[in-house]
Symmetry: C2
Subunit: 355 residues, 2 copies
Amino acid sequence: MPRLDARVVQAQIAQVFTALGVPAEDAELVAGELIRAELMGIQSHGLVRVTQYATDLRSGLAKPGAPADVVGGHGSLTVVDCGWNLGIVAAHRALDIAIDRCRDAGTAVVVTRNCNHVGRLGSYAERAARSGFVCIATAAIPTIGHFVVPWGGAEGRLGTNPFAYGFPTVSEPIVADFATSVIPEGKIRTARMRNDTLPPDAVLDVHGRVTTDPECFYGPPRGTLLPFGGPVGYKGYALALLAELLGGVLAGTEVDEEGRPVNGLFLFLLDPARLLPAGTAEQLAAKVVDYMHSARSAPGGRPVLVPGELELGELARRSSGDCLIDVDDGVWNSLSETARSAGVELQALGEGSAA
Amino acid sequence: MPRLDARVVQAQIAQVFTALGVPAEDAELVAGELIRAELMGIQSHGLVRVTQYATDLRSGLAKPGAPADVVGGHGSLTVVDCGWNLGIVAAHRALDIAIDRCRDAGTAVVVTRNCNHVGRLGSYAERAARSGFVCIATAAIPTIGHFVVPWGGAEGRLGTNPFAYGFPTVSEPIVADFATSVIPEGKIRTARMRNDTLPPDAVLDVHGRVTTDPECFYGPPRGTLLPFGGPVGYKGYALALLAELLGGVLAGTEVDEEGRPVNGLFLFLLDPARLLPAGTAEQLAAKVVDYMHSARSAPGGRPVLVPGELELGELARRSSGDCLIDVDDGVWNSLSETARSAGVELQALGEGSAA
């Protein structure tokens, strides 16, 4: 498994994007987000995305440098047209607008049109929280990604629609970010590559029967994913549907229209200082964190954490340490190839010296 | 199992509340909500609550006629002091305020202080949606109800904190409303009375081990409830925690303070007509409903529904039919006794004629 120096590879990934026409500042933003996800242990939103975004740039699906235009809304509610820029760049612009409006009005709602893949949704919830705001974020996904069944169904009608929130405290923010399916499609891909079975009660075959065989998902005919919740999966279904309603419907998108944007982002921000004296919510939230930590662990379990704590802790530990990233061979091969074709030669640690 | 005429018993329940000092209009509101929950098939928030509310009124915990006062907030964000009125009355007042603000500003946030049990949370989401607004609602619960473990924990730190939303369509609104634990405490009580076992993976004993024995929950020592999500129960935990942050922290409540209100209600309203031409969101949402309905059912399953459809369908069917309610013997006995002590004599159908 190749090992990389995160700082070196981050600069090189930025070079790859600039070579593909992305303005330097935006390229650095995207590379930074992907490396940050790797250092948090969230590989699904890390380096594996470089090839995807490069492909989008080459095919013209992603339009580097496109502005994020306000095209609708009134007051603190805004519709942002992302102009098919890279989703991470556009979503940060959308969040900039939301933060501005929230400073003025105490709340802000932003929905997007023509938005590519926004990457890790929790990133926006986290940034909003670090700016002092409570944030709820969801993302809707177009028909091509409708792998998730409505509760009781045997055909996909929803994406793995993530739900995220951020809440500021006196120290690190609380940051939740999860798919509303039991598992994301990426986990099935990995299991298939490794000849593993799937966890039970996560995936259905084409007939709507539970399966642990990755091939039964890919078919053809294709299987589906269950919303999370197990025997009460109608709860996960309700949340997945909420993401479609907030990020799809409120942006004026038809649920089954062709050529839908990759993500329909919904952002809600709230300034707690409009409800309580400044700093109070952050202090009370820190007490909530302490109260959660004070719970005894289940047998054999690790200490109780709050959402985001594991990932932010991992990030802090690795950033202040050797800042190394291990990547799967498959990801490494595709990443190196993508970089090479953009004129950037990546090197895993030890590779040069071993030669 | 006694059978009641819903219209007759609704008027009688209202009489019970007026006899206990509740203004006539408020008594009718509360009685109407409880009967409506029964007709929707949600017995947990129906007639079983009459004795609870009557007890609160007699003990002075509930203060009938108390106004809902705006005591904080700026712009479209409002802190409402419910003055310990009956929670259903106070929550409707809080929603009145939210609807007013949302008409003005396009969004509204309301949090509550000194709020008693608000009953069925979905009721507020539904009413907001029927008023044309998108609504997200959560409720926090005080330490005495902290039965739910944080993920990986063996001690309760959260309530069964419900999460609800309403979204308007061209016909019936979409209304989701669910506890963030696998099962509510009421289900354990019922299982214990009936000598049933519990569903698996819902309840832990005092040591943090999964149990299906209701006695292991009640102890002493007392067990706990798992957040919903099964193997990904950290997602249900994140939602339960969100309800505490929104309804507890934002209202200025300490997570473990003594004498906390029974419910910390959080309401977020959004006017879709500030983002899209009037009526568009409702039409697009109706298409989402049709698209969900179009999914083939899982083997042996019933047709796919959207959240709230089952309950609203049941309500419509029974309201336009004989409008009858069947109540458990236990509920009936306590209800009759509560009514009698307020000078109201209830009668089950056939009781008089059988005598």
